[in-house]
């Protein structure tokens, strides 16, 4: 199965209880991966409030994932 590198920030890091992980998964898209993680960690935020970054670039939810991809789900930002 493809191995995905995940990094977690802000409340997602708190809810996952970790900052990063390598995860083996059979899901095909970023959207399916987020649903898998929601089930695993109980992420409260719905996908409508999240953006997806694959290999440090914003990508659509339909983005397909391949072995070695680095994925970050971006919760609402609060800089400034």
């Amino acid at each position: 199965m493809p191995r995905i590198e995940l990094e977690y920030f802000a409340q997602l890091g708190e809810q996952a209880g970790r900052r990063s992980e390598t995860r083996e998964t059979s899901v095909a898209t970023a959207a399916a991966l987020y649903e898998e993680l929601r089930a695993a960690y109980g992420f409260v935020l719905p996908p409508e409030r999240i953006r997806v970054a694959v290999n440090a670039a914003f990508r659509p939810w339909t983005q397909s994932l391949k072995d070695g991809d680095h994925v970050v789900f971006i919760p609402p930002v609060s800089g400034g």
């Binding site: 802000a10 670039a57 919760p75 609402p76 930002v77 609060s78 800089g79 400034g80």
Partner: protein
């Protein structure tokens, strides 16, 4: 050189300003965002900022490029801090130089608004009562 910096320690603001000096620029405007002592009426002891640095840097750079294309400005730089900041510390700094003043104000305003909306940086307010919370202020002042 990347003109949008994510910095995990204090940055020399005078050096940033100096980097924007140009013979053709007749005006300069800076915006500084500071750590305030209250949030929603609750006393704050400090704010912890975290960033997804590679994307924060590229998205920040894209915002500065948009400002250069959109306004009649000469040069611009910005910096956002990460780490634990105390009340009064500079969390974000934006500088713009231009031939005339009007564009510097407009560009500064555009850049801070876009940073707050788009750049992957998050703040966690630490309150004097010992609580700490991730803030969700997407598109809110």
């Amino acid at each position: 050189m990347n003109r949008f910096l994510i910095a995990d320690s204090p940055v020399d603001i005078a050096a940033l300003r100096e980097a924007l000096l140009r013979p053709g620029a007749g005006g300069f405007c800076a915006f500084e965002g500071w750590v305030r002592q209250t949030n929603d009426g609750r006393p704050v002891s400090g704010i912890e900022y975290e960033a997804f640095a590679p994307l924060a840097t590229s998205e920040g750079q894209a915002i500065l490029d948009e400002a250069l294309a959109r306004f009649d400005i000469t040069a611009t730089l910005a910096m956002h801090r990460t780490g634990y900041l105390l009340v009064g510390d500079i969390a974000v700094w934006i500088g713009v130089s231009a031939p005339h003043r009007d564009a510097t104000f407009k560009a500064c305003r555009y850049i801070i608004d876009e940073i707050k909306a788009r750049v992957p940086v998050w703040k966690r307010e630490h309150y004097v009562d010992g609580c700490a919370e991730w803030v969700e202020c997407h598109l809110v002042g």
